[in-house]
Amino acid sequence: MQLRAVFATATATALALVTHAACAQAVVEADARGGVYHDSDATTIVTSAVAARAWPHERLSISGRYLADVITTASVDVVSAATDRWDEVRHEGSGGLGYKDADRSASGSYIYSVENDWRSHTGVLALAHDTLDHRLTIGLSGSFVYNEVGRADDENFDERLLGGTGNLDTTIVASKRDLVSVTYSLGYASGYQASPYRFVRFDGPLPGAQIAIAERHPDTRARHAVGARWNHHIEPDMALRSMMRGYVDDWGIASGTVGLDYVIGVGVFEMAILSRAYVQKAATFYREVYASELDYMTADRELATFFDVFGGLRLGFDVRDAGPFESIHGDVLGKAFYYKFFDFLPLPERYGLIAELGLGAAL
């Protein structure tokens, strides 16, 4: 009940601010998006989000967003926690302020997320500066997150997880058809990083007897990621959007990601063919089977060795000067995916579908 009141107040405040801004100046954007995720591990997630941004002054913007995830799962994770199935709803609300002039932009935002066993507060700051006659944009951003971790039906379980991330971005005009951007991210987390619902089994002192204990992860984690994106325009109205990313952390995980989207514009319509592939090496303390008790033990398949591939199609439209609207846009997206786990016995593979629908308008 208290949660409903908080979100109702936040939504009313955001709408009032946006309405006030709309009266002050006729530049308001609003977007809504819904998506369904379903996979072969008996997990379905329905996500809905609404977002709005308004410019009360030509250089100042305010924005707000609300997102809800409804999760229904009977995954191997849930079964290993001796539960048949669970349902959960996560709410996330955010608000932000932005400044932008000819050469610089700055923004700050706050995000609050809550579910039955998790609550988090996140602050984000971002700065960007155009230089060399707008041929080079340099950006710096940072975030700090404070998490309160609980466990359903256990009031005594109360853990904390703190994290920070810093990003350095550059975007470069490489030619009249090419934009290249490179990003470095450093992340650091400290606190409880395991799941209170996952248990690890290993052989006990008696022959044939196994012991199950809650998984144990290191308290700290440092992460590094370098990503590059290259967007190439092809006449008359097409673009190749490619990306690659390398990642390492001090848990021993190393991963690589590549992606390629081919975007074709035909008048107000747009079609995009989407593809992405990811490969990961396991954390050093991950074991397919634990023969004995170790300092760190995990049953988290996201720390195993695996690869995944995604492929899909997006169809969209963007109509300018449509009646009272500066623009109306929308898209429908469908993706299929496949994961292959090389050393996770309960789930050797996972596949599924993602469908999304987005609609938006600028006034």
């Binding site: 998006r33 041929r135 950006g139 450093l186 967007n231």
Partner: protein
């Protein structure tokens, strides 16, 4: 030990970003940047859709970060 392990990737990333940034000296006058202003050429043309995609991936993969946050190239960051 930990500070060394943090410093190496950070230095390598700074070197890569520095080298790539130096290529921005290639002169492309403002009137030739019409393509860059198109939404399909922007690093993040649909933030809400991008947040959905990152949400799916970061919950199911062991890595995170490395996604750009700024636009640019046409004075429209």
């Amino acid at each position: 030990m930990r500070s060394r392990s943090l410093a190496r990737p950070a230095c390598a990333a700074a070197l890569v970003i520095g080298c790539v940034s130096s290529s921005a000296c290639a002169p492309v006058p403002a009137w030739q940047r019409g393509f860059h202003a198109k939404p399909k050429m922007q690093p993040d043309p649909n933030p809400l859709a991008a947040s959905f995609e990152q949400h799916v991936n970061e919950y199911r993969e062991g890595s995170t970060g490395g996604h750009g946050t700024v636009g640019g190239g046409c004075g429209c960051n």
